[in-house]
Symmetry: C2
Subunit: 341 residues, 2 copies
């Protein structure tokens, strides 16, 4: 098996820097768009054959060193008792949003082997189809990011309602975040048992918090997830954006690999994370929309800052944008391998 990715997670030397991309399966790929003409996002997520097909699309098209399960962060919400849907052009809509202590009290822990059995079936199917070509990454959202979707009712620019709940009803917040932590830990455990070889926890929107609030309201819950997963010995990745001032606390919360975004130079970020952890990142995804030379200069800079030290996984600082040209992604992956082989 191509085990570069897993070796880098464990800070072991590699034959070339491993590369994968957040949203490497998705709307920028013509093959995915063709499938989306016939199926909704949730249909694809819920049908193992389709989800596996989409997961594999970039593995065939791009020279990446890991596959990531095609799924959506919000899937665990429905079996908890928080219905949601995707509205064309608007993204996820959670209706009614979670705003009261009564609603939080009614949330349920659930058995992922029953309620999200289709995800676990997808994982098993993928392990067979991948036949050890590259490792398979599972994932879930972190409590702050999941809670912010549920409370705001969708994406937000300021997280005002989420923070108002945190500040105004801290007990309810902690109960909610703990419920999410339990659900996510159960879900990731089930994913590991079904066969994923690494898991990434996405705390995509946590950069909205001050370091002080992160420590009080997010850290303990995210930490619970990583603590629960530790005995499985499967590499864990911890990702967020806008986290320049949160990195030392994110390290404390857990993760063998800490994700960095482009707002912090990779070497500065790695110093804050600590050299006994691996890092993942951190090219600005918008660089893939410009000229190829500038994109490669940016990638070269990232690699220079990693200085060939073991424990760097090349990725973007956030997901591939839908308007990205597939050829650019292919060129980028090849460049990283060529430069570091």
């Amino acid at each position: 098996m191509n085990d570069r990715f897993l070796r880098a997670c464990r800070l072991e030397p590699v034959d070339a820097t491993p590369v994968w991309f957040m949203r490497q399966a998705g709307r920028y790929m013509p093959a995915y768009r063709a499938l989306r003409e016939r199926h909704t996002l949730l249909e694809i997520c819920r049908q193992p054959e389709l989800a596996a097909e989409v997961t594999l699309q970039p593995i065939d098209a791009i020279d990446v060193d890991a596959a990531i399960l095609f799924s959506d962060l919000l899937l665990p919400l429905e079996p908890m008792g928080i219905p949601f849907d995707f509205v064309k052009g608007e993204g996820p809509v959670i209706d009614p949003p979670l705003r009261s202590v009564e609603q939080i009290d009614r949330l349920r822990r659930f058995e992922p082997r029953e309620s999200l059995a289709h995800v676990l079936d997808t994982i098993r199917l993928l392990r067979t189809r991948l036949a050890d070509r590259v490792p398979l990454i599972g994932f879930a959202g972190a409590p702050f990011t999941l809670a912010s979707y549920a409370i705001e009712g969708g994406p937000s620019s300021n997280y005002a309602r989420t923070k108002a709940l945190m500040y105004g009803e801290p007990d309810a917040w902690h109960q909610l975040a703990d419920t999410f932590a339990t659900v996510v830990a159960d879900y990731l455990t089930a994913q590991i048992e079904a066969g994923v070889q690494a898991v990434q926890v996405f705390d995509s929107w946590v950069g909205a918090l001050s370091p002080r609030d992160y420590r009080e309201f997010a850290l303990p819950h995210t930490q619970k997830i990583f603590e629960t997963l530790r005995p499985f010995g499967v590499p864990t990745l911890h990702f967020g954006t806008g986290t320049a001032t949160l990195l030392p606390a994110m390290r404390e919360a857990g993760g063998d690999v800490i994700g960095l975004d482009w707002r912090i130079p990779l070497d500065t970020g790695w110093e804050l994370v600590g050299e006994d952890r691996a890092v993942q990142g951190n090219l600005d995804p918008t660089l893939l929309l410009g000229p190829v030379e500038r994109m490669l200069r940016g990638a070269y800079d990232v690699l220079q800052r990693a200085r060939g030290r073991p424990g760097h996984i090349f990725n973007l600082g956030h997901g591939i944008l839908p308007s990205t040209d597939l050829e650019r992604v292919r060129t980028l992956a090849q460049f990283v391998h060529q430069q570091t082989a």
Copy 2:
């Protein structure tokens, strides 16, 4: 005159830490909402009597140490040849958005004393009405932030089109940003001549850039504005959000006072800015939506980190949110004064 604010800008000792709030005039105020029932935002901006009335509303209601001209960042766009409007519930819409080199070529430098005469009339009216109670702050947007509105057509989550232009057509970008810098420098010069006693440059969205891109695409243009204003001897403030990794470069770009948001502890931010500059900030505006005790604890923490050193202006890390209770704002301003007197 209450000159605490101006003294703090100049790093001089003060009798109490000066306080003002971004968006201290606006939708959170019942008096403003009453006026908005009869007038649109642009009507208020364009009628000196109304703009002056709104500017003064918080001066009467809250114990703040500065007034800030009520206006909108986008006003200079129209006389440059970029029409826009405010659509209810959506914010600003620039239609057609600025996407081509031809459009950029057609942009005009204009004479603010003619095209934005109403703003200068508002300033003169305000200086009379304020009768030196508190100083009056003028403002404008920084080139990156103005360009991002014009190119995206409104607010954006990833600034993909803005960055695609930067990377793909760097000459066109620099021409555009230089035009904005010239227009903003002209506009702020006219504001100073009309009587504002300090000016703030808002680069609200610049935190989307990597430090490398900031230096290449934003810094030189913002710097041009501050260089042009320097001979007037009026204090200048330089504000952005999500700027933890940009602060040393923002300092280089200019500003006697550098704005900090809540994502960075005030003392850490001040160190990056340098002790020979003043700083402004940095309470999370969402803290005003929660219990008063937590808000005051947060404010106390900000003041502790400022350690009573000359050169701290208390403010939020971004504007007051519309759902904020006026009484909270009043309590916060009083608290800062009491703690530091």
